[in-house]
């Protein structure tokens, strides 16, 4: 009954129950609300952490557990008038920043650049391109990587990225331009005509 009730509630209403000081919710109700939030967000957060932590799945799994415990500890900081998912992604982004500071930039080995010759080998070239692109994203500075992943891998609107990263819209756009340019600098040896042949941009 409670679970059904929770499924009909918004994220913010569930978080208010976790906070537990607006009405006399029982501990069990608060726990159930937290489990429901985990159900809604764990998969998306896991994907985000995997991308941000250079595909370290085990570490990303630990981060998902940790973020919900952090959410419990920091529940008093949640503003019910703001969007829950922006708040939780802000925490996630800060966790990645801390990990980045502790472990430094993870050095990814660039893929061997033995380019197949001619457009006939486009598919193999595409695979190489994607590997190099992945390496380029992994090697971005944390603040550039955050906006790039949120925008092009998690598909967040620009204004929400600004909210998550606690910066202005202009700063977000500027960082996205820098991030893309940095990746591009490492991919200059590829044929830019890929856009028309392999990748389509809306």
């Amino acid at each position: 009954m409670n679970n059904l009730h929770h499924k009909q509630q918004s994220d913010e209403e569930l978080m208010v129950q976790v906070m537990g000081h607006h009405s006399p919710f029982s501990t069990k109700q608060a726990e159930a609300a937290l489990v429901e939030l985990h159900h809604r967000y764990s998969r998306k957060l896991l994907g985000y952490f995997i991308k941000m932590l250079n595909k370290d799945v085990d570490l990303a799994q630990d981060f998902v557990q940790d973020i919900f415990l952090k959410l419990l500890e920091k529940k008093h900081l949640f503003d019910p008038n703001k969007k829950f998912y922006s708040w939780i992604f802000t925490i996630a982004s800060n966790m990645c920043k801390t990990a980045y500071r502790h472990h430094g930039k993870t050095v990814s080995l660039y893929p061997e650049m033995n380019h197949p010759s001619g457009l006939a080998e486009n598919l193999a070239e595409k695979q190489l391109f994607l590997k190099a692109l992945q390496a380029g994203i992994d090697n971005l500075e944390h603040h550039h990587k955050t906006v790039f992943v949120l925008r092009y891998l998690e598909h967040f609107p620009l204004n929400e990225i600004a909210e998550i990263t606690e910066s202005s819209l202009g700063t977000v756009k500027s960082r996205l331009f820098y991030a893309t340019r940095k990746i591009t600098d490492q991919l200059k040896h590829f044929d830019p005509s890929f856009e028309t042949t392999l990748f389509k941009l809306n």
């Binding site: 608060a30 726990e31 489990v35 998902v64 415990l69 692109l133 202009g170 200059k188 990748f199």
Partner: protein, 204 residues
Amino acid sequence: MEEQHERLFDLIESKSFEELTSEERTFVLNHLTEAEYTLQRTVISATAALEYSSDEPRAFSIPEKKKSILNRTIPLYQALIGAACLALLFFVVGNKKSYSLNWRFSEHPLEISLANGTSASPVKIIHDTIVREIPIISASKVIHDTITVVQTILQQPEKRMLEVGKTASYPELTEKLLESKSPSYKDDQTAQFLPSVSVVNTMK
């Protein structure tokens, strides 16, 4: 510079190089080559093709020691800091009160008039003892002080008029009043403990 990067970002996200107007093209070419512009668009579109692990997240369970947090609205250390701040504030405000003088006169001021009925000469009112009250919570050191305040007024008080010629009558000095009923000094046995003085009765 940031504004230019913002504009470049907007153009890269929305238009291919061929779709740019001549003005936009000139602006872009001031910062990037056509190949770089195209490659940036390729990077953006290719990012969507990147593959990541699609692992299922682990089941969530709250450790027993963390469950107690659900009963708390704020962390304990914050509650303690709050209480300490409140106590400090109370202490500071309480101490401030002790520095404000609370004027209370222990008795009515003495009013003196030199009046003969109609004179309006200035009269001085002298307030004597002043009691300063100090709150009990800060009464570690109590200071009693006496301050004399002299206040000049122009109107005569109506009470306690001492008019010339209407003073109380005193009894006349007579032999009977001067007559001593106690033993004389030379007969007084306690006089031997006093220094040697001579007594002269000036009234005779």
